[in-house]
Symmetry: D3
């Protein structure tokens, strides 16, 4: 009598219920980057997911980086990007360019997209209300203005989140003296997740998750404990791009976050699938 499709649709909503219940009123930090920040359809899908989270009673907080666009503007300004161990060598001019791109271009674009999808996003860098205080990264003076987070003051982000807003955080912060630093966005995401007492950290990547064999996409490891990740990091078996993502997860889970997930941002609505279906995708890091 009734269209079978409609019943299936209801079934999906019903399947989501226990997860909605479990995450209700909780904070969830989403590290946004990779293909999901480039492909228009994927962008659209991520924004929709974030707004849906907000409407079903979860507090999403977005953290983003933007290395490619920084390099591009540098190039247009006749400045070459150089890297040491994958980290950008950052002089004062590079820092200025990075901040303009991250805060004034990418951050506001995400804010605008979320708003277009029915949310109310507010773009923040560590400087806003001295939300995050940075310091120079230790032991690597050649990198210049590359920093790490010294501490996070969650007051303003929580004020915004509890009044219906979605914080969008760019990975830039100043130290106590007011000097600006570029900080790895993955690491920022992990620290913000811990500081805000998030229930989950979700890191969007361009691979299926942590792979046993980096050349075999089917060799996905569905779950790893903090101890396992630490051991394997020490063994040096991961490729460079995965390392900060795993470190981000370690920071979060050691800091009290229940679960951290490295998922495939090339899959549309990967966030919803991870959160609201029994399937689960990518690799989950547990305490």
């Amino acid at each position: 009598m009734i269209d079978e499709t409609l019943l299936k649709r209801a079934g999906v909503l019903i399947e989501a219920l226990p997860y909605i219940r479990q995450f209700h009123g909780k904070t969830m930090v989403i590290k946004y980057g990779g293909a999901a920040m480039v492909d228009p359809a994927l962008k659209d899908a991520v924004m929709t997911d974030i707004v849906l989270l907000k409407y079903v009673g979860i507090n999403p907080v977005v953290v983003h980086g933007g290395g490619a666009e920084i390099s591009e503007l540098m190039k247009r300004l006749g400045k070459e990007a150089t890297f040491i161990n994958g980290m950008r060598v950052t002089d004062a001019e590079t820092m200025e360019i990075a901040e303009m791109v991250l805060v004034g271009k990418i951050g506001k674009e995400i804010v605008q997209l979320i708003n277009q999808h029915g949310g109310k996003a507010v773009g923040l860098s560590g400087k806003d209300a001295a939300f995050m205080i940075a310091r120079q990264i230790e032991g690597q003076p050649d990198l210049g203005l590359v920093g790490e987070i010294e501490r996070v003051d969650p007051t303003m982000a929580e004020l915004l989140a509890t009044h219906g807003f979605i914080p969008v955080i760019s990975s830039v912060a100043a130290d106590e003296a007011g000097k600006t630093f570029n900080i790895n966005a993955d690491i920022v995401a992990g620290q913000v997740a811990a500081a805000l007492g998030a229930i989950k950290l979700i890191v969007l990547t361009d691979v299926r998750g942590v792979l046993k064999n980096v050349d075999d996409p089917e060799s996905l490891i569905p779950s790893l404990s903090v101890a396992e990740v630490e051991e394997q990091l020490a063994q040096g078996i991961y490729e460079r791009g995965m390392i900060p993502k795993l470190q981000s997860c370690l920071i979060a889970v050691r800091g009290g976050v229940e679960r951290a997930h490295i998922i495939d941002g090339r899959v549309p609505h990967a966030i919803l699938i991870e959160l609201f279906t029994d399937a689960g995708i990518g690799t989950m890091i547990t305490p």
Copy 2:
């Protein structure tokens, strides 16, 4: 790379988003009855739907009757149920039986089922906090203790709804002098919807909706205005069971409720399908 089914699932959640947004923080009154109150699988589906509503930020309020079970207990007590124009002739003993069945059996069973599904329901009759004040129905003295609602005080129901509870209302109320009356649950639902400023009233029935030709289930009328319903009620074209349901919708919509829906309670998750998909089912009454 990713299972097609998962993408479809995400699509269903996404399709629901605009509706979730639209109904966020609003009150929705559900008249529960018919097959959906008898069949265990349907019961289960309705309770799941109600709890899902609560978790996505909507305030569901349930109103129920229970004629069949009243008649059954009367029969067991050797008392014959008699009706005039479909309304139960209610002497003092019948009233006592009706109240025990509605409040002490059906109401608490619904409360318990909602709780089992993860909600926090509170069973109420009009007597609780003098939530609804009744008076004898006019012009029909032969019916005995059959009443109508004189006024509704929404204070307690709103207090409960805004603190995370789901009110479940039995269609019994006392008059100012403390005399108890049996009241048509459809009518109660319409009046409660208006008094609580609900955005929608959803009436579960055992037909597909309002039909042009009562013998042809395919002759469903998807939408009717208050004026159309009033005219057709005056023409007497509706069968008896549909009349109080339509009157309930008229009371609600005239009282400020945006939309009232008569939907098929025999379809599992009919509430979710109606609210959260583009399909829409049953008949909608508009201002």
Copy 3:
């Protein structure tokens, strides 16, 4: 110059003042039952007392049972009531009857009477908002669905009490799996008093209090410590009806309630006399 009577009246109000002050803002649990629940004049007096408490700033919470009326309906339905050690053997049908009578008849009658006297009562069973979770009573499988309280969640009752409402609690609750149990109302009263942090538990009975000699109403024991009650219960000197009342008091006082009182419900306004005059009546259980 002024009527002597008026001065005496003022004196009574003045005598009440220190008690009103002492109990201000505190919760008081009243176990309602016996003659006070049958005789219309006594009923009326109890309801007046409860409403007066509310108006002078005390939070009364009423707990009731209703064995006689359960047996009566069972009899009308051709079902014989059987007891083991004074506890009702409760099969599924008996449980259904008990719940209908307690929740749908007695509970709502008390609610209505309190409202008639100017209060705003709300009838609750353990199922409402999963207020009380039950479990099968241990070691007595022959009793069937006779339970005990596993835990009480005071949230909803406190919400109602602090917003001007008077909770009226029927002694029925479900276990985690949703199975319904009949629970001794005296025991419920003691547990609710402890869970709500009540200052007093008042148990209405049909005797003058605890008597030294059960045949001599003048042998009233005005005060007993928990230790004394425990010792005497172990000695088995109390008659059966008094045992659950004393156990109720023990549960309350051990759970932090300052005083528990077993008083004579056949005396009109026994509650007011106990609380607001220097006289004091019945037996008081102290820590």
Copy 4:
């Protein structure tokens, strides 16, 4: 079985219930003076009454004068008190004496007595938080620093009253320029009652109320309308002492106070008798 006296006591409490209900949460202004401010037993009775009011949910506000004690201190300081039409001629030195006596002696004594009886009183003059702004009384320059109230700012008194405190107001206030004025306490009481939206003004006097024949205490007029009082004041039939009391009542009732009462302060607990018994005493002024 139970002492008859106890039942009678309960009856008195019960008789008070409808009045407690009616006055719950309302403000009541008491003009304190006359014998009730001199006789120790009467003082004690008034303080008890005021504290009882507070505990049953009413907000009492006390206003007092103190002419006799002012004259006494003046005499001790070798200064003669002179009056024109019953109003004290007030030079700067007299004003200083009056303020010391009213604020520093009588006001604090009342505060202390209320505290001894279990209340929490706070003594205030019009100067505190510029609660009352005065101006010189019109057309009577010979009186010197005799003023009238220009306006009342209820903010601080309401803050105190809603936080459990009992304001005790001395009839002294300054004008905008800071000059201090002595103001008739009866008139202050009427204006404060109106400004605080009181439900009742109660003026304690040393007569039974308004008498038809001033020499016949039995000629008490139980009730007068504002119009009747205005007419009779114009006819000049009242003796001097009663005039400001009647004017106080007129100010209050015209300003929205429901009832003003002139009662016999020589009767112990006259306030309780007036408020909480069916008797009623003295003369009531109605709109």
Copy 5:
């Protein structure tokens, strides 16, 4: 005995008191630009002033532009800035550059400076929480993405201001469709002042104020009414740079702001001098 200088210092604080009192709890919008945004000592002075305002109970809101720095980055990127009637012709690439410079460079620099001086600033553009909605400026299609403010939603800015934060607003906003526009910062300041119900708008310029004779700095006009400004704008007597500043003041004062001030940003602490001394500087626009 005491150093004369200290007494003079106290005198300055005392002179400020009536102004502090007058502006307590009020919002004040500061249009920041010109020399005060370039010279390090002046920058420092402005930030100190803003933080002082916050600490004495005023809510400062900063609005800034940044034309020169936009042109500079354009030049570095090999793009020529072109203007029509003083307004920048803005194609998509120019808009992207402008947004990066305003939001990601100038805005965050101001935020950081305020924080260094002890405040807690939060940088915002119109996109954040859709705080300001823009539309294309009318009648000038050749200008490209030059917009005007259609409406301001003060919710988020007020939330931040009442929780101790200082909003710093960049003059960029998107329209309903998400297209980004560059908006004259003077005009934004006037509209924000009106939307937030500010008591004052203070526009920092590089001249002494409105001059009668543009070549004679001594010809300062201390005060102008809205009507006078409107008349003189119609007469076309003002030089180009002053026109948007005057229009900003008109928008503010017509929108309910009490006073708008055009003051000389080259004077250190011009804001404090204007607000907290009897002197007053620059030109004041009154209703």
Copy 6:
């Protein structure tokens, strides 16, 4: 271009900023007395300072005595003032006089002066809301009604302070039995500072501070620790008038107050100079 004086003025405000920031939201107790309570210009200066404190976000609380005026009224009433070790022998009549003068004259005059300067003061004695409970001073029965503070209940003073009011406290309090005592105002100030968790106690005196050589005003000791003061008090090197001031500071600092200051009340605006300039005056007592 700009008047040099204006720049200097701004400089003073700027110098005050770090102090305003440091003391924001904190309570500061000011012991008012000596020349500053007699000389009209000094009075005026103190009141202005207190109101300024309130407006820049500090909560000032004033404590005052008034020995000279008590003696004067005693003399006018033909009563001789006698002292033992500098403490007034206080019989019942003296106590009555002292209370009238302190509460009804000096206290209200301070209240009125603060109000004239734009504050909202409320005069309190220990009796108000039983704010301070006294007891007879130990070991000196000849002194009569001279007391010491047993405990302070900060509730009401905090309620007033957080709602914009300035408490002005007279050094009179009653014991539990209601007997009134005269208490050294210096000691009251120290105890109130500790009870309210003040950040500072400021004691106004008629000397420059604690002097090494009492005859050499230039021998000011700028800072003393609690241990140093205790030692020197034990050595008996201080003159009588300084002893209670030092004891007051000890009570405060031992009770958690960060700094206590004995400053020269003969210097106009000594409070502002001490608090808001880098100079600092008088003697500071530190933990």
